[in-house]
Symmetry: C2
Subunit: 344 residues, 2 copies
């Protein structure tokens, strides 16, 4: 495998959207988001877009094989729960079948709900009738009651709107459309981009129609670069007003800070959260423009211009999730960002 330097395959965001077809459900999805945003705009509730899970790059039109980015969706699903708890309305845009808020506590693989349900004989509820009924094992009742209560509260309040994507193309079209809808909220909107997005894609024009046949030797795949969409997201789609949080995941920790600074300098957004694949559940670094120098920052990735704050939790504490602290920190920073509105 090799990574070669060719320029022929560079798509700008503009070229991308002009040449790649939108997902069929896009118009329907936009209507749902618009209704959700307008409803919360009326009450002054802040809204956060949480993206979550990995995107795919199909190798065939009738897709059998695809490139994927590793992500169960834990960061996004967990953070969404804490944003809801903090009073935000949440647009949860996630990879189909990745983890979701609330149900994430009951993975079919690691904590299957069928294991803690029991069939019993007796009086059913308050009905007074006799028969087989289903009960929850005593050891699981407290947690399930808590999760269920939070879930029902959110459903009743209508503060969670869920959409899903599969391919990187779905993701890009949805992100653009949702951020344009959300931009009516100005500084009250946050963008929490936790999805693991492919850096490469196969333009529709290069896709095989049918399953690639084996038996003819090795497989060669050549992919084009996905356009850098943070730039238009910051400058155009959200008109420079959204509070935008992006993520950097690396396996080589020494790259985290330099890459985070370079991204902030290039795109001009508010926070990069850096995490290492192996320690991401108990430590992350917040990199953001230093308040003193932020006005003249753009284009300068010198590390001294950026504030670096580590958030760490005790890896041994099974009752603590780092997303609780990440969200608490962001809520404070977002409040400050939104407060600046009245002064400008």
């Amino acid at each position: 495998m090799s990574t070669a330097s060719t320029l022929e395959s560079t798509f700008s965001a503009e070229t991308y959207f002009a040449t790649q077809p939108p997902p069929v459900s896009l118009d329907q999805d936009i209507l749902g988001v618009r209704e959700f945003v307008q409803r919360h705009a009326r009450t002054g509730r802040k809204v956060v877009l949480v993206t979550s899970g990995g995107t795919t790059v199909p190798l065939e039109l009738n897709v059998v094989r695809f490139l994927d980015n590793f992500s169960a969706g834990t960061r996004g699903a967990t953070s969404a729960e804490y944003f809801l708890k903090a009073g935000y309305a949440v647009i949860f845009m996630h990879r189909q079948f990745s983890l979701q808020p609330f149900s994430r506590h009951y993975s079919h693989s690691t904590h299957p709900f069928l294991d803690f349900l029991e069939v019993e004989q007796g009086t059913i509820g308050t009905s007074g009738s006799e028969g087989a009924y289903i009960s929850v094992k005593p050891s699981e009742r407290t947690q399930l009651l808590e999760v269920l209560a939070a879930y029902k509260t959110v459903q009743k309040a209508g503060t969670l709107h869920t959409l899903n994507f599969v391919t990187v193309n779905d993701y890009l079209w949805l992100l653009r459309a949702i951020s344009q809808e959300l931009s009516v909220l100005g500084r009250d909107a946050m963008y929490y981009l936790a999805a693991a997005v492919s850096d490469f894609f196969l333009p529709r024009q290069k896709l095989s129609e049918h399953k690639i046949q084996s038996g003819k030797g090795s497989l060669h795949i050549e992919m084009d670069q996905v356009p850098k969409i943070l730039k238009p997201l910051v400058s155009d789609w959200t008109r420079g007003e959204g509070f935008i949080v992006s993520f950097k995941l690396e396996t080589d920790s020494s790259l985290l800070v330099p890459k985070a600074c370079a991204a902030l300098a290039r795109y001009g957004h508010q926070v990069v959260i850096g995490n290492d694949l192996h320690t991401r559940k108990h430590q992350v670094i917040f990199v953001s423009p230093s308040p003193k120098t932020s006005s003249s920052l753009q284009g300068n990735s010198d590390e001294q211009h950026f504030e670096q704050v580590w958030l760490r939790i005790d890896p041994a504490d099974k009752n603590k999730e780092i997303e609780e602290d990440i969200v608490a920190e962001l809520v404070v920073r977002h409040r400050a960002w939104a407060g600046l509105r009245s002064m400008t």
Copy 2:
């Protein structure tokens, strides 16, 4: 993207296992399977290995990106349930987080269990104490009681053994080890190979250690062919005695029968089940050696030597799953195959 003809990258099964490292949990997994097989061998129960879900091909050692094969695991998980119902012991070897028997009815995306649980106040079960308790919505009770009862029966009987894989390398090592364990059952063992296995892989020796960096133009990936393991599975690992069912998935239907016949001629096993990506939930074709000509079949893929039987169900009937008919047909054929033992 192009598929080129090169011979340099052809691994035999032997070379593959001599050069690619086994998964770390292999020894532990083998012990579990051995205990399971021996327990059922003592009672004369037939055992089926069901493989299910798609395999991945990691592009990096510290894996962020991987190639995947499309499969939710529906075929395998559903079939496993019907095999259990038919009295088989089932080794369910599936892709981590893909669908599993029983819990498959409650996908977090399409049928989330939190949606049909309710929090109520009243007398809790037979305890006589008062408080908040969890109840199941009346409309869901019948199905959940049925699924739960079947699940508890299987747990009590100890007839389901579950293991999981992620990469195609995990899959190959596990398949070899399990089939060698299962071979002690001779003709009483069935192999139901429903997993969607990659035809290509990246040898460990060619893997990047860290996340491939973007920003350097397009991505080139060159993959080697996965060795054809049906040949050693049939001839060596199961000593020609296992009842082996493989699957062909195509998006171009015209390829199904010729490819199924070619596989049977090449590998000498019992059944290929052909399915088209778009119609796989309501029709499949069983291709098998014709009884009249099967003795001199090997190497001859002429379609007249093969029996073709379509199984179809009504796509409008939501209460019928085609796996019920697939398994019923295989149980009959396996009984005939196992019965031949006494005559040889």
